[in-house]
Symmetry: C2
Subunit: 206 residues, 2 copies
């Protein structure tokens, strides 16, 4: 008897990690990579906004000036870009192609509007909406950041409230409990592991 192989075809996947401003996307994304540094690739977003105190160029973001950003747009190097709070943010394509080619899953931390664009361009991306359990929890997080003027805070809160309404556009919804991001990390790991077990998989193309 010939020894047929029964494995399902398995491809690296692209995970969109999104959610409203302040929900903890950065923390969860960082912890995911720490859990499986050899399996996951974290896409570093290019941005024209200045770095926050704890942010490192090339790791948290690529901090670029407006001219550099304009060049990336012109050469079609960005999967998606947007103006967020008067600054540009964009996702360099080549990073994603390289990571997928190396067999790693790609984790894309992106705002809600950007997630919609990426889902449109890459329909077989897995999309996760990170959320707090209540609106009050989200507002508390935004206040804890203490990086905004009162006016900026009002804008962020209103935006977050609108973003929350777009939950249904996503495949998955994961609650990020205050002070316990490891709970959300475990859920996202399950979503990734389950996705690798799907019988019907297609390679991500971009």
């Amino acid at each position: 008897m010939q020894d047929n192989l029964y494995d399902c075809p398995e491809y690296p996947l692209l995970l969109i990690l999104s959610g409203p401003s302040g929900v903890g996307k950065d923390t969860v994304a960082r912890m995911l990579i720490e859990r499986r540094p050899d399996s996951f690739y974290f896409v570093v977003t290019a941005t024209t906004r200045p770095p926050r105190d704890n942010e490192r160029d090339g790791l948290d973001y690529f901090f670029v000036n407006f001219d550099e950003f304009a060049h990336m747009i012109e050469t079609n190097e960005l999967l998606e870009y947007a103006i967020v709070y008067n600054d540009y943010k964009g996702i360099p394509k080549q990073q994603i192609r390289d990571a997928l080619a190396s067999g790693r899953d790609v984790i894309l931390r992106v705002d809600v509007q950007g997630a919609a664009t990426v889902r449109h361009l890459i329909p077989n991306a897995i999309s996760v909406f990170l959320t707090t359990r209540t609106e009050g929890g989200l507002v508390r997080r935004l206040h804890q950041r203490k990086q905004d003027t009162q006016e900026g805070m009002a804008l962020r809160t209103a935006t977050a409230r609108q973003e929350m309404k777009r939950l249904a556009e996503f495949d998955y919804c994961v609650v990020n409990p205050e002070g316990r991001p490891e709970v959300a990390v475990e859920r996202v790991l399950s979503i990734i592991d389950a996705a690798h077990c799907r019988t019907h998989q297609e390679p991500v193309r971009l």
Copy 2:
């Protein structure tokens, strides 16, 4: 500001655990229940076949005679039933209703043909096809059981080979590595956890 709730609606789910004869469905199902006895309910199949040495009535199967089985068919108490190797097997409905009503996820160990019937009746069931990595691995398992005549073994092997071809009908495919069922158990747990995070969920109805 009112404190809106952001949780996604979450319902107990029905997991179909299937795969070819000999792949290890019983072991994986038992280990799943042991891992989360308060969250999972294992549906006990009714069968007219005699118990194997290690099987206990009411736990592994409900062992019934042909008259009792006929009564269950007549009173429409079975979700699905079939003749398997000259014996009847069937899934009592009321168990599933009770388990779902108590908030537990229902795990249904069922053969490949039965899985097709259940998927048809309950389209939002999550279906998992348990497999070995190779056909040779499956045949070795069947031989290890040592419970069959040579003729019975040939029948089981041929059946298993046909069943393997139906993998694509399932949502998920999980390899059960020989001697390491805990690997398959972890994968199935991820599939269940991920399913509970879906943004679009409907209650199971039967």
